[in-house]
């Protein structure tokens, strides 16, 4: 772990970068073709969650979902009525299936929660009892630390609580929370001072100032989140619940007012039949799966190593219309790469390449390495190593000199930032080729960073040429941004580069807009401007100076490598610290909403078929004409009602995998999404129950005494 990259970037960019680049950013989570991957679903989970599902039969657990609470009461009622007439197999069967309906709903929720529990258990292991050594020498258990305490951690210690490093540098193993085994550097000051309780110091010694009370640490919050203990209903979920409750009330009325109407018609409906009708009509499918969908949505984020501090944030992600993306690491590969050697007049290109390669051997920054590689690839210059050349004196790159080079065979070769190299040549009384300035500015105008190569040999000190360093846009980003545009999301590139460079990269990457020479204040102003226009803004950030903007943004994703201030301010934390993931987060948010809408539509559309099954079954005896509504030609009234109830229960189990995985989502326009989802879940919801009820009825009719 070095900090050299940072220095070189600082020295070469014309403005302050808004976020420090990291060389510990994993390269995983590349764009996956624009498709939100499905979560895993293992049928065994159903079995494992069964005990929990039974525990949830407790009415206190049921009350939270109005729809399922009605089913629960219906089950109790039918059971009571079954006891009054113990010989009535129909009453018992209906009541059994109603209980199964409730159980299936519980099961869906339990399975969704179960997946979080496994994650929580791994986290809990990290929360072993720790002992804290305070700087004053006292030793206390980690649970008795107070905010502001200073504790000392040395190699092998587990950090007792969340805090900031105030002294020293150490490599820390954070695999307990990130799953990433490579250690990370934590040091006092700057943007990498935050340490998390439960992580382990591998080397050196640091002093940590505790910033969080025990019990409220990052790990504690993570455990609560993934277990669903801290789960609150999101705004959309509340609104949907209200709509479902009102539909439930309507159908309660329909069923409650039916007996006098039926009595007049000449038939008396039993409580069992009425409850069966009610349960079939109220939107049980979505009512049963609603909370599982919400939990699974959070879980899909957790699987991608993103922690959302609230469900609200996940929903907001679906609504985002402006994405603020940091250039470095998100749009471009973290580092600039050499793409071209441009000689000054009177010098051969190969000579520049050779000199550039030699002088870069002592530069181990990615930029330096890319010079070596380019020279090898374009001029066939064999990659040389420092050991290959004898008698050479290597001059390593430092932030002060901003140059690297080598003195060998009486030649002094230097390569580095334009200003430094020019100063070096002038210092030695050398000539500056008249076209050097022009070359430098040409590279700058093209959005690149110019490095100068100079030499001092028998012909005296002079500039040989320019190395064109260019930001390399990640593969596939252009398509990704086009997709986002189709989804109605505007992308804004944030960069510390000058406007010229920024524009060139923005054009190449295909983002809609860019903010150059961005300061934290500029970023904040941009967010506020977008929000004033009614837009929801998402961004990533890691530095302390990002914190206000992260807090202001509707979706603020803090990088786990960032400061604790940034993590506090954001409403999500990406444990992989991969800014590209913002795009996936948006897609997961959308997928969550789509799944809810699709299953609601499906649930409501189901009612048509159920009416056609139950109404003729109830009344065809008194009004034979109504038998014409029995378009499924169900075998008997009892079997028709039973088939509808059974379908209603089984469809819940059948849709559990879908509600956990989420509806397939592709980044296309709203029109196409709607067309597709309406066809699948609207039309499908109309037709599927006709087929399902008919099949169940056919099977039931095989049982003697029903058909």
């Amino acid at each position: 772990m070095t900090t050299r990259t940072e220095n070189q970037e600082d020295s070469m960019s014309t403005a302050i970068p808004t976020r420090a680049p990291h060389d510990d950013v994993p390269t995983g989570h590349q764009p996956s073709g624009g498709r939100v991957g499905a979560g895993l679903f293992d049928p065994k989970q159903l079995l494992r969650s069964l005990p929990e599902a039974f525990r949830k039969l407790d009415p206190r657990a049921q009350v939270t979902s109005p729809v399922m609470f009605v089913v629960w009461i219906g089950s109790v009622l039918t059971t009571v009525f079954a006891f009054t007439d113990p010989g009535d197999w129909f009453g018992w069967t209906i009541s059994a299936w109603l209980w199964l309906t409730v159980l299936f709903a519980n099961l869906a929720e339990a399975v969704a929660e179960g997946r979080g529990k496994a994650q929580a258990d791994t986290l809990r292991k990290a929360k072993t009892d720790t002992v804290a050594r305070r700087t004053d020498g006292s030793v206390v258990p980690g649970t008795e630390l107070k905010v502001g305490d200073l504790v000392v951690c040395e190699a092998g210690d587990v950090i007792p609580g969340d805090g900031d490093v105030v002294e020293g540098v150490a490599s820390v193993d954070e695999s307990a929370i990130t799953g990433e085994s490579a250690p990370v550097i934590r040091e006092s000051g700057g943007d990498r001072s935050a340490v998390t309780g439960g992580t382990k110091v591998l080397s050196d010694r640091i002093v940590v100032k505790i910033t969080t009370r025990p019990g409220e640490t990052f790990i504690d919050r993570m455990i609560n989140l993934v277990e669903g203990a801290a789960r609150q209903k999101t705004p959309n979920e509340v609104a949907l619940n209200i709509l479902l409750a009102s539909l439930t009330i309507v159908f309660l009325l329909v069923c409650a007012t039916l007996p006098p109407l039926a009595h007049y018609a000449g038939t008396d409906l039993t409580m069992t039949v009425l409850v069966a009708l009610l349960v079939c009509l109220i939107p049980t499918t979505i009512g049963a799966l609603l909370s599982a969908i919400g939990i699974a949505g959070m879980d899909r984020l957790v699987q991608r190593n993103v922690l959302a501090m609230s469900g609200r944030a996940v929903e907001a992600a679906g609504d985002v219309s402006t994405l603020l993306l940091d250039k470095t690491g998100t749009i471009t590969l973290g580092n600039r790469q050499a793409t071209e050697f441009v000689p000054v007049r009177g010098t051969a290109e190969a000579e520049v390449a050779d000199a550039a390669q030699l002088s870069s051997l002592a530069d181990e920054t990615p930029e330096g390495r890319s010079v070596v590689v380019l020279a090898k690839e374009t001029y066939g210059l064999r990659e040389r190593h420092r050991g290959d050349i004898t008698g050479a004196e290597w001059i390593s790159f430092t932030a002060q000199t901003r140059m690297s080079g080598v003195d060998v065979d009486g030649r002094k070769i230097r390569k580095g930032a334009a200003g430094s190299v020019l100063a070096w040549v002038r210092e030695r009384g050398g000539d500056i080729a008249p076209d050097a300035d022009g070359l430098v500015s040409r590279v700058s105008e093209a959005g690149g960073t110019p490095l100068l190569v100079a030499v001092e040999d028998a012909r005296g000190p002079r500039v040989l040429g320019v190395v064109h360093l260019k930001d390399v846009v990640k593969e596939g980003m252009r398509e990704r941004f086009a997709q986002l545009r189709r989804m109605g999301i505007k992308t804004v590139m944030i960069t510390g580069d000058n406007p010229l460079t920024a524009k060139a990269i923005a054009d190449e990457a295909g983002v809609d807009d860019f903010l150059a020479e961005a300061t934290p204040e500029d970023k904040m102003a941009l967010i506020k401007r977008e929000q004033a226009g009614g837009k929801l803004v998402a961004m990533t950030g890691d530095g302390t100076n990002d914190a206000p903007a992260l807090a202001q943004a509707d979706v603020g994703v803090a990088m786990n490598t960032g400061t604790s201030a940034a993590k506090e301010a954001g409403n999500m934390v990406d444990l992989d610290s991969d800014p590209t993931k913002l795009i996936e987060i948006v897609e997961i948010g959308k997928q969550l909403l789509i799944t809810r809408g699709a299953l609601t539509t499906f649930s409501i559309a189901n009612d048509v078929a159920k009416y056609f099954a139950i109404i003729p079954a109830l009344f065809a005896a008194v009004y034979p004409g109504l038998d014409k509504l029995n378009i499924m030609r169900l075998s008997s009234p009892d079997s028709a009602i039973l088939a509808a109830v059974i379908f209603n229960a089984l469809i819940i189990i059948a849709l559990v995998p879908l509600s956990l995985k989420g509806v397939r989502y592709r980044p296309v326009s709203a029109d196409r999404l709607l067309r597709r989802n309406l066809a699948v879940y609207g039309l499908g919801g109309l037709i599927a129950p006709f087929i399902g009820i008919k099949i169940i009825d056919l099977l039931l009719s095989l049982i003697p005494g029903i058909g």
């Binding site: 007012t257 609504d319 219309s321």
Partner: protein
């Protein structure tokens, strides 16, 4: 030319006339409700009632205006009927009984015009013109005002103000209803509708014996009866009476008047929210339902089943020969898909399924195109519900016309759609469960039940048409239907205005490619489906036991 062809031609003429009036009237209405200039006559009115027409009202103030004005209307109308015995020009009619006076007052103030009385045998000139006819204007104007307030809720942002109720009310009368009604009345008079203040004439019949003919200001009342989707006839026979509706042309003209303002208001909506295409989508939704209902009605009424129908060329019982099956079917659908309730034929005598279509039209909430104002706001509420479900399916917090549909908005829309089903089902069930109300049925079996179901459906949805056959002038029906009308009119208005207030306060969300496009045919189709499934299905069991049981029996 066969009767079916004639029907189709009538339908085409009707649609052509509506299409011609759509742009100018809709745009004019938008201008009426957006202008900040007052007419002189309007200033006088404001001065008389002591209203300030320029203050912007937040939704509670707007609602207070609606409720206070309507309460005053109910009280005035009630007293007028109770005092009829001492009023001049009362043709010798006595005071109306308290329960019937309450029912009638509620009925006309709520734009329902349910009539449990026989106009020509109970109401004198003063009650008819100073009471009932006045309410025909003002109740319609109240409806338009509330719809306009909701449209402003969508159109405005970051303000709580929905406009001024008094100015909306007065302008609706002075600039819209009165001018249109005058023109319509002149046309009707020219076509043979009577307009006089003469008394009762004793007329000899061809078959011997005699009959009483009333004179009256029929054409003027007829014009606003249709134009304001009121429906309260001067005569008990309503638009089947030759003095109200003498020819096939006046029949078609009256249907045109019924549909005119509700249809044009979709344009007003489009203009006011700044996208006429949004108005077209709402219009397309209404038109689809209306056309489908009309086609179904014609099909079931023309279907030749049984010797008598075969001979008559369709179900002619209860229909006027001068209108025929087609003219009656178009009228019946138009009157029940709006809150009009005027009838030119007897819905009770329609085929079982035909009767069911009239009921379903009302049960959908009368939104295709619906009553003046009430049709538009009812449809917009359904659009809110449909957008909420469909909006989730495109992966965003649902938004309609740039306004987010959050918890509060959905709560209000959900309350709105609860009101009428509750009233209809609870009152119907009570009437069926109690011993006395059922005594008012003239038929037994499914048809008898339809009479009661129809009565409460008509009352709670502020339609006002009757299935005929039910003796509704009992204390039970006068009271319960009166309550159903009042609650069915004003409770939804509370939710509509609260919703308007909530929408107006929002900051609009700009539309992007990720936004559900509500001006697309796909959305109109979705809206039709949502309306049929969410409101239609609620009544499926009740319909099965009434019109479906009867209609499918054959």
């Amino acid at each position: 030319m066969g009767p079916v062809t004639a029907g189709v031609l009538q339908l085409l003429a009707l649609m052509g006339a509506l299409a011609l009036a759509y742009l100018p009237l809709g745009t004019y209405l938008a201008r009426v409700y957006s202008s900040d200039r007052h007419w002189r006559v309007e200033r006088w009115i404001y001065r008389c009632v002591g209203a300030d027409p320029d203050t912007g009202m937040r939704w509670p103030a707007y609602l207070r205006g609606v409720l206070a004005f309507s309460a005053a209307g109910v009280l005035f109308l009630y007293l007028l009927q109770r005092l009829q015995g001492v009023l001049p020009l009362s043709l010798g009619f006595r005071a109306i009984d308290p329960d019937q006076a309450f029912n009638t007052a509620a009925s006309f103030v709520t734009n329902t015009n349910w009539q449990s009385y026989y106009g020509e045998q109970a109401m004198g000139h003063v009650v008819q013109t100073a009471g009932l006819a006045v309410q025909n204007f003002v109740s319609a104007a109240v409806g338009i005002a509330v719809a306009v307030a909701l449209v402003r809720g969508f159109a405005r942002s970051r303000t709580g103000e929905l406009g001024n109720f008094w100015s909306d009310l007065v302008r609706g009368i002075t600039r819209v209803l009165v001018p249109l009604a005058v023109v319509a009345a002149v046309v009707l008079v020219a076509c043979g509708v009577i307009q006089n203040l003469s008394g009762i004439h004793e007329v000899g019949q061809f078959t011997g014996g005699s009959q009483q003919w009333n004179g009256g200001a029929v054409a003027s009342q007829e014009a606003i009866k249709e134009l304001g989707t009121n429906g309260g006839g001067y005569f008990n026979a309503n638009s089947a009476h030759p003095f109200e509706n003498p020819t096939p042309f006046t029949n078609l003209f009256e249907i045109f008047l019924i549909l005119l303002i509700p249809v044009a208001l979709t344009r007003t909506f489009g203009v006011m929210v700044g996208s006429v295409r949004q108005g077209y989508a709402i219009l397309a939704t209404m038109a689809t339902i209306w056309l489908a209902f009309t086609a179904l009605m014609m099909w079931t009424e023309f279907a030749h089943r049984g010797a008598a129908l075969e001979l008559a060329g369709g179900a002619m019982e209860g229909k006027e020969t001068r209108f025929g099956v087609a003219g009656s079917s178009i009228f019946a659908v138009a009157t029940t898909l709006t809150s009009t309730g005027a009838v030119d034929s007897f819905h009770s005598s329609f085929t079982g399924l035909g009767g069911g279509i009239t009921m379903l039209g009302m049960m959908l909430g009368e939104i295709a195109p619906g009553g003046v104002g009430s049709g538009l706001y009812g449809m917009l509420i359904m659009a809110v519900i449909a957008v909420f479900i469909a909006g989730l399916m495109v992966g965003r917090t649902p938004e309609y016309l740039g306004k987010k549909l959050g918890t509060r908005e959905i709560k209000l829309a959900a309350c709105y759609i609860l009101v009428t089903p509750t009233l209809v089902l609870v009152f119907t069930a009570l009437a069926m469960a109690l011993p006395t109300p059922a005594g008012s049925m003239t038929n037994s079996g499914a048809h008898g039940f339809s009479e009661i179901l129809y009565a409460y459906t008509s009352g709670a949805n502020n339609n006002g048409s009757a299935f005929a056959g039910l003796d509704a002038d009992t204390q039970w029906f006068n009271t319960t239907i009166g309550l159903a009308m009042l609650l069915g009119r004003f409770l939804p208005m509370v939710f509509v205005l609260a919703l308007a207030g909530s929408l107006a306060g929002q900051r609009p969300v700009p539309a992007t490619a990720g936004t559900l496009r509500t001006e697309q045919p796909l959305f109109a189709g979705l809206l039709v489906g949502a309306i049929l499934i969410i409101t239609g299905l609620t009544y499926f069991p009740a319909l099965a036991l009434g019109p479906l049981a009867e209609g499918l029996a054959a």
